[in-house]
Amino acid sequence: MAMAALRREGRRLLLSPVSYNSPVAARSAILSDELGPMGARSVSTQAVRNRMKSVKNIQKITKAMKMVAASKLRAVQVRTENSRGIWQPFTALLGDNPSVDVKKNVIVAITSDKGLCGGINSTSVKVSKALYKLTSGPEKETKYVVLGEKGKVQLVRDSKNSIEMNITELQKNPLNYTQVSVLADDILKNMEYDALRIIYNKFQSVVSFLPTVSTILSPETVEKESEAGGKLGSLDFYEIEGGDTKAEVLQNLAEFQFSCVLFNAVLENACSELGARMSAMDSSSRNAGEMLDRLTLTYNRTRQASITTELIEIISGASALTG
């Protein structure tokens, strides 16, 4: 009761010398960034409030993006796991020769079109560049075929002349084998190659993606390596059924192998992209939440400090009058 009277008296005292101020409510005059009554300065909470609103929006957006990526991942993961059987027969027959030494190498780097997916595109590009260095040498030439916008942007900076083909908007329609086989046909038509190396991120789990390189040899290289012995040496023991010549069958085999391995690689990369986006958006929303907590604390501290200042002024003014 006494406090209320004191407060009313204090406010009447405050308002009278403030007549030169614009007639805004006393509260907002105190909270805005100008001289309060009695010349007391108060810190603004408006800026902090704006920041809080934008951080909260960012948190909502990143959380939504994570949910979208999670739901898409479920569908693609099933298809990826089903397609894992398709490259195994070829590796069982021809073995795996990443260290094969040939003159013309083509590096097919699979990256994503959209961003905000963590570091997977950068790892693919790093691995591609290292592989380029590995396969380059006197009388050898290495070229890039880049699938996806993000890879092109990164590779164009220093290897612009080595990029032969760039294919984007791969995932406009859901990935299927027909589309990939047309793409593989395109690549084989336009590139001369002795060995194709496909670089992609293999999907191990939602948080783990391993950069992987699959090597596919041209039919002539297969012949050469099988004569030289080693892993492909046992290829001679296989009888060839169908086709007119062994070379024709090997040609068909190489093309079929490329399209199958490319199909699996594109699916695995799509899966890894969604998984990486999920974890990137998850950490982003967590960071936004922490930032919001810190900002809320600052906001409350500022607000309470200004209320305390106001009270002190009122009370000291009132006590100056009475005491």
């Binding site: 059987g85 027969p89 795996d96 290292a130 084998y177 046992s234 059924e241 199909f263």
Partner: protein, 206 residues
């Protein structure tokens, strides 16, 4: 006394089994015997890019195949894959008949190692008394020396899911297209359509 002991042993085993599924640690006999990475590649990589981990290669993700046995095994191991799923994986069967371009080829355990190109036709898998038939569009079949057969096809459907009326209609359409085709490309496409639909027809009747 022995019953108590066996109960304790089973409890210990089940407890151990439960623990091992929580933290997956393979037994040493389950690990692949063959090297899972190409050492020459890894060494060359380390020379060029020592700071980056070498990428994995498909060998690391594949279960190793059994070696060639000295005597002819009794059963054939079949893997039948299409891009969208593995229809049959590591199934032990008696015989498979694949539609190679040179005709129907029967594969029995101990068959010589072969690479066969497939044409549209019926693939039948014989296991005991049951026969499963699939219509495959085309692909490859590899028979390895260790009696493992890999069949890779672009598209495959079980024969009982084929609609006969659509087959007849398709055959009529493509025959007509073949007759009215002008360029080589159109002729080739129409010929392929006629071949596939005739094979479908044969699959339905045979």
């Amino acid at each position: 006394m022995s019953r108590q002991a066996s109960r304790l042993v089973t409890r210990a085993l089940s407890g151990g089994g439960h623990r091992s599924t929580a933290s997956f640690r393979p037994f040493s006999t389950d690990l692949p015997a063959a090297p899972s990475e190409d050492t020459a590649f890894v060494e060359a990589w380390r020379k060029v890019a020592p700071n980056i981990d070498p990428p994995k290669t498909p060998l690391a993700f594949m279960k190793p195949r059994p070696p060639t046995p000295s005597s002819i095994p009794s059963k054939l191991t079949v893997n039948f894959v299409i891009p969208y799923q593995s229809e049959i994986s590591n199934k032990e069967v008696d015989m498979v008949i694949v539609p190679a371009t040179t005709g129907q080829m029967g594969v029995l355990p101990g068959h010589v190692a072969t690479i066969a190109e497939l044409k549209p036709g019926v693939l039948s898998v014989h296991e005991g008394n049951e026969v499963t038939k699939y219509f495959v569009s085309s692909g490859f079949a590899f028979v390895h020396a260790n009696s493992v057969t890999d069949i890779v096809a672009v598209e495959a459907v079980p024969v009982d899911r084929i609609d006969p009326s659509l087959v007849q209609k398709g055959l009529a359409d493509f025959t007509q297209k073949l007759n009215s085709a002008t360029t080589d490309l159109e002729k080739a496409e129409a010929q392929i359509g006629v071949d596939v639909h005739s094979a479908l027809n044969a699959a339905l009747s045979g």
